[in-house]
Structure formats: C-alpha cells, structure tokens
C-alpha cells in the first residue's frame, strides 16, 4: 500500500489520476474502519487533510461553497445560521470525536444510504463539484447517488467542494435510532421550506438504496399550500395536509429489512418524521423565523 500526503490540490489530482485504486481519506471515519477490519486494501491512501483548498468555506452568489474537508464540528459551529438543515444533521453524527474528524465530503464519497448529510443536501439546491486532471464538473445532488454506497464520481475524480443554497426559509432534520448518540440512522428525513419559490424540499435517508427526494410528496404539498394561500396567510397548517404529506413521503421509500430495522418500520417512521418535520418547519415559518 502507498500513502500519499499532497500539500496541493493539483498534486492530489495527479495522485488520483495515476492509480485509480487510490482511496482519499480525510477524517477516516469510514475508510479506516474498512482498513482496520481488513475489508479493504486499496493500492494507496490519499491523505487530503493537508490540502488547504479543501479546508475552508466561502459565500458565493447566495450559496455556501463548502470545501470537501470541512468537518461536521465546523459546520455546526460556523454555518448553523446559513445551513440550518445540514447543521442539524451534523449534530446527530456519531460522537464529538467523530464530528471533529468526519467531513461532508467524506459522507458524499462513501455515499452510504444512511449518511446524515444526504437528506439536508437533497432538500435544498446542492451541487457537488468534482474534479480530476481532466477538469472540473458540477453534479446535481440528485444525480450524485447512483447505488448503494456508489456515487457518480469517476475513478480519477475527487470531490473538491459542495455548493449549498443558503437557507431561504425554515429547515428541519430528524432521524430515528436506538440512542441519542453514535447512531447510524434507522430512518432519517430532512425538509426545507423555500418560500421564495413556493417549494418544499425533502430528503430521505436509510429508506431506499440511495438517498433520495420524495418528489411526488413535494408536488402535493406545494399544490396544497398554493391552493390554500398558505404562503401568504401563514395560517395554521391543516393536520390533514401534514398527515397526507407524511403518507406520500412514506410511499417514496423503498426500504429493506436489516439488523437496524424492518422495512415496514422504516416506511412508517419516515412518514411520522416527515409529518413532524413539516409541522415544525411550518410553525417556524408562521413565527417569521428563518
């Protein structure tokens, strides 16, 4: 095995291009588990923690450009106001030790259906910027997940940054697990209200082979809000709408039975999480809170 620790992004891309069986590593919270348990013996590890370009974030055209190496701890500390959904999800990741090391870029690289970053990224406008020595390309978040633990990256590509729309309305995230810490989501759900475009964004985790949106439920709830003039009136959300929204989100799932929960439980749990998230976000919106 080789171990490369480039100082620059260009150098990192070179390494990745030379040996496709190179596994990038930042926090190591997924990669090292596989190496420790002999599940994976890549030709090389590519340490990205010294590549400065990946360690920061900036504000550009109403979006936060999040370097792939920014840790969950920093998302929580520095971006809770601008990316509340992602920050809420980050707070539920592992333990303090894991949040100090784990990164959103790593979560995307691993592309586990249970990754906590995915639902909030799906619920809002997000673009993953991938790059190789051949150049950079932008991948819409919904196109990024291609299968169980598979993503749209080519073997020579690395994730450079993630562009996430700054919240234009209330956002929520919740997940189900046996403890309040160190939990891999049995089911997770994120919701974002986009009052400017009268849209409700959703993201589902641990409920299908890949993280996904509940597109039909989004259309349903947007139509109900329009018909009832709710965006303008900010009046109470009818319980029937929240209930039906939850039911339709449940229909968007394609869960499996596994050690963490049954498919039936997951479908039910997602419906409940969705109903609650919509109710909470709407109550924030009614109070004119972001």
């Amino acid at each position: 095995m080789d171990f490369a620790c480039p100082r620059t992004w260009a150098e990192a891309l070179e390494v990745q291009a030379q040996e496709p069986d190179t596994v990038p590593i930042c926090g190591g919270t997924d990669v090292m588990v596989d190496v420790n348990f002999d599940r994976r013996r890549p030709a090389a590890l590519l340490d990205l923690t010294r590549v400065r370009d990946l360690q920061g974030w900036s504000h550009r055209d109403g979006r936060i450009v999040l370097g792939a190496g920014v840790t969950y701890a920093r998302v929580i500390d520095e971006l809770g106001d601008r990316l509340p959904g992602l920050a809420m999800a980050a707070r539920t990741v592992g333990s303090p030790q894991i949040r100090n090391r784990g990164t959103v870029g790593g979560n995307l690289g691993a592309a586990s259906p249970a990754g906590d970053s995915h639902p909030p990224l799906l619920a809002t406008e997000t673009v993953v910027v991938a790059e190789s020595v051949r150049g950079a390309r932008r991948i819409e978040i919904a196109d990024f997940y291609t299968g169980v633990k598979r993503n749209a990256l080519e073997p020579d590509e690395l994730i450079r940054e993630i562009e996430v729309e700054v919240a234009g309305g209330p956002q929520q995230f919740s997940k189900i697990g046996p403890r309040n810490a160190m939990v891999i989501a049995v089911a997770g759900f994120a919701l974002a209200l986009h009052p400017d475009v009268r849209r409700v964004g959703t993201g589902l985790g641990s409920a299908s082979p890949t993280p996904r949106r509940a597109a039909e439920a989004e259309v349903f709830v947007a139509a109900e809000f329009d018909e009832r003039g709710l965006w303008e009136s900010r009046s109470e959300l009818p319980e029937s709408v929240a209930e039906e929204f939850g039911r339709r989100v449940g229909l968007a799932t394609e869960p499996i039975d596994d050690v963490r929960g049954s498919a039936a439980y997951r479908k039910h749990a997602i419906s409940v999480l969705a109903r609650r998230a919509l109710t909470w976000a709407w109550s924030d919106y009614r109070r004119h809170r972001l």
């Binding site: 590593i25 190591g28 919270t29 090292m32 590890l45 030790q97 894991i98 090391r101």
Partner: protein, 157 residues
C-alpha cells in the same frame, strides 16, 4: 514508512509504519504508549481517544501517516511527573474507575470538556462523553467525577 510526530511534547520517530496502520496502533505498539486502548477499532467506543492538534479524536480512525508533523497528547501526557491531573484525581476520588479500560478515553474527553466549558451541566457532560462507552460503572460515578474535577478546577485561584 517513517512517521515523525510530537507526542506529549516529545518529538517521536516511528519506523516501519505500515501505510494502512492506525495512529492507535502506532502509539501502542511503536511509541510504547499503551494508555490509549484498543477496543472497537471503528470509532464506536472512544477508548483510544487522544488529542490531535488539540482536538479529541479516535486514534483508531486516524491513519498514522496523517499524524506526520502533528501534535498529539495521549492520556500519558495529562499528568505531570509528580502529580496526577485534576481530572485523573477526580476519577479516582469519585470511584469512576472499575475495570479501567474506558478510562483513558474518558479522561481525554472530560479534560477537553472542562477546558471548553468550565462549569458543565449534566447534559453538557452526557453530550461530551457520548462517544465513550463504559461497560462497568453505569456512568453515574463518571458524571460525579467530571463535576468534581470541574468544581476543583474552578475553585483553584
């Protein structure tokens, strides 16, 4: 490969490090510092917690090569030559140690918490120690120990 790093204030050269080796293994087997414990090797139990550049991390999830040129503090680095650190003394006095396997990780996590939050509440402590599993004591005495350590640190001039 060779990894040169600073551990507990001392420059350390680790030789013949395997490229996939964890910092936890390197500390225990090459640096002669067995304080950080090897238990789950997947970041679940917190027994191998060390400071890496001042931030608590699970050393089993850090590739040894990633620690090149970094600054590491292990549980062995908390005490002075003559005295235990206040957090260590509080764990002893409160009876927060049973088999002791989880203790090194808990000490680092508690040490970090008190440095950030001098008067931690119960929820602060539970949150900060959520990644450190103890299978013996049931946590009550660990909570007592952290409060005791914080109270004593606050009482010091």
């Amino acid at each position: 490969m060779r990894v040169t790093t600073t551990v507990n204030g001392q420059r350390v050269e680790l030789d013949d490090v395997w490229e996939g080796e964890s910092l936890m293994y390197a500390l225990r087997e090459r640096a002669g510092l067995p304080g950080s414990k090897n238990a789950c090797e997947q970041g679940e139990c917190g027994s191998c917690t060390v400071y890496l550049d001042g931030v608590p991390v699970c050393s089993c999830l850090v590739a040894a090569g990633q620690s090149e040129g970094r600054d590491i503090t292990t549980v062995e680095g908390l005490a002075s030559k003559t005295d235990l650190h206040g957090v260590q003394q509080a764990f002893l006095d409160a009876g927060a140690v049973q088999c002791g396997f989880c203790t090194p990780g808990l000490l680092i996590a508690a040490h970090d918490l008190i440095a950030r939050v001098p008067e931690p509440s119960d929820p602060d402590i539970r949150e900060a120690l959520a990644g450190n599993l103890c299978r013996c004591t049931g946590y009550e005495k660990i909570m007592d120990a952290v409060h005791l350590a914080a109270d004593r640190a606050g009482a010091r001039p």
